[in-house]
């Protein structure tokens, strides 16, 4: 339960601070700090904000990648949610958070 609440808090934090395409600097920083806490074996920079975090096995084998997106949309969020966007005209309305 505690685990679940932590994930929900992360989702809501990202929702509060959305960033537009190619400008996801704060989001990338935030995600990086969480992911680096999990001590991945490698982290790879794939552009200005795109990042990959790799957990290596002991032996060689198939490599699996899971991908999520960092960017939000240029839409004004109209909602009564406690964690609604704090940035005027930018919101995670595509669910990338």
């Amino acid at each position: 339960m505690q685990e679940k609440n932590k994930i929900i808090a992360i989702r809501q934090h990202i929702h509060r601070f959305p960033e537009l395409s190619n400008k996801e600097f704060k989001t990338a920083e935030y995600i990086s700090s969480i992911m680096m806490n999990l001590k991945p074996n490698r982290h790879i920079s794939l552009g200005k904000t795109s990042r990959a975090f790799v957990f290596d096995g002991k032996e060689k084998g198939k490599n699996i990648v899971f991908r999520a997106e960092l960017d939000a949309l240029a839409i004004l969020e109209i909602s009564a949610l406690g964690y609604r966007s704090l940035k005027q005209g930018v919101a995670h309305l595509c669910g990338h958070n």
Partner: protein
């Protein structure tokens, strides 16, 4: 992103025996270019991916269910920006302007028709009208128009010169100077009060008249005042006057920047009016 973080926590606590699991947080999915940038990035080969799962949520699907699809997940979107060139006009002279409004209306009407004619499409398509911005180019002060204004100035210069030449027996230079002061004050009022571009040629013509009249009368005055007293006065004027073309742009620019055009022309009108006093002091024979 939160879903991936949750999965990453599980993987971090249960590291794979074979192979690797990577979590990729990709930029710019909304602008059809983020995935390509990542795949083309030189570091992408370090992932050496055998399988790549691109996660995205879909509204309307039961909670805790996962839907998988090979290949494309959604249709790509393609933007099109139309730039229209209009022409500005004063509200009282709308017929001189070109408004993009009717063109926009036609475009919207036609795209709606495209959208409803599904037989035109090979695949599932949706066309939406999204007016982001329209660029209206201002054509008011293009070079050709500026040239036209200068032509009006030349017309002013030539016409007043002809007028003075024809009446040279009757003209008194101090009277010409007085009228020049009056015209200059009128000029500054005209500049401030002109609220439409069609007035500008006449203002330039008036400017031409003033410049021409000034040159004629100052030379005339030089001929007229040959007394010792006046000669010294004129030399003083001319000497002080030489510094004006240097000071004028600096002072004028400063006033315009700090207090605006109206203040500048007010100061201009006051200074010009004061010159009437000096004209009074000059003793002309004629």
């Amino acid at each position: 992103m939160a879903i991936l973080v949750a999965l990453a926590e599980k993987i971090a606590n249960n590291r794979p025996d074979k192979g690797s699991v990577a979590f990729l947080f990709q930029a710019a999915e909304e602008v059809e270019q983020g995935a390509r940038d990542v795949v083309l990035h030189p570091n992408f080969s370090e992932l050496n991916a055998d399988y790549l799962f691109a996660l995205h949520n879909i509204p309307g699907i039961a909670k805790d269910s996962i839907i998988m699809k090979r290949g494309s997940f959604a249709a790509a979107s393609k933007g099109m920006t139309l730039v229209m060139e209009g022409k500005t006009a004063h509200a009282a002279e709308l017929e001189n302007g070109i408004s993009p409004a009717s063109a926009i209306a036609k475009i919207i009407k036609h795209t709606e028709r495209l959208n409803t004619s599904k037989d035109l499409f090979m695949d599932l398509c949706f066309l939406s009208n999204y007016c982001r911005f329209f660029t209206i180019k201002y054509t008011l002060f293009l070079n050709t128009t500026t040239g036209l204004y200068l032509l009006f100035k030349v017309i002013g210069v030539v016409s007043i010169s002809m007028l003075v030449l024809m009446n040279n027996k009757k003209t008194r230079f101090n009277m010409l100077l007085y009228s020049n002061v009056l015209l200059s004050v009128l000029f500054s009022f005209a500049v401030v009060l002109a609220d439409r571009a069609s007035f500008l040629p006449y203002i330039f013509m008036l400017g031409g008249v003033i410049v021409s009249l000034y040159i004629i009368t100052m030379n005339g005055v030089l001929l007229e005042i040959s007394g010792n007293e006046n000669r010294a006065l004129y030399t003083g004027f001319a000497g002080a006057g030489n510094i004006l073309p240097m000071l004028f742009p600096l002072v004028a620019g400063g006033i315009i920047e700090r207090w605006g055009y109206i203040s500048f022309f007010a100061v201009f009108a006051i200074v010009v009016s004061l010159s009437a006093f000096f004209i009074y002091k000059i003793k002309c024979k004629k």
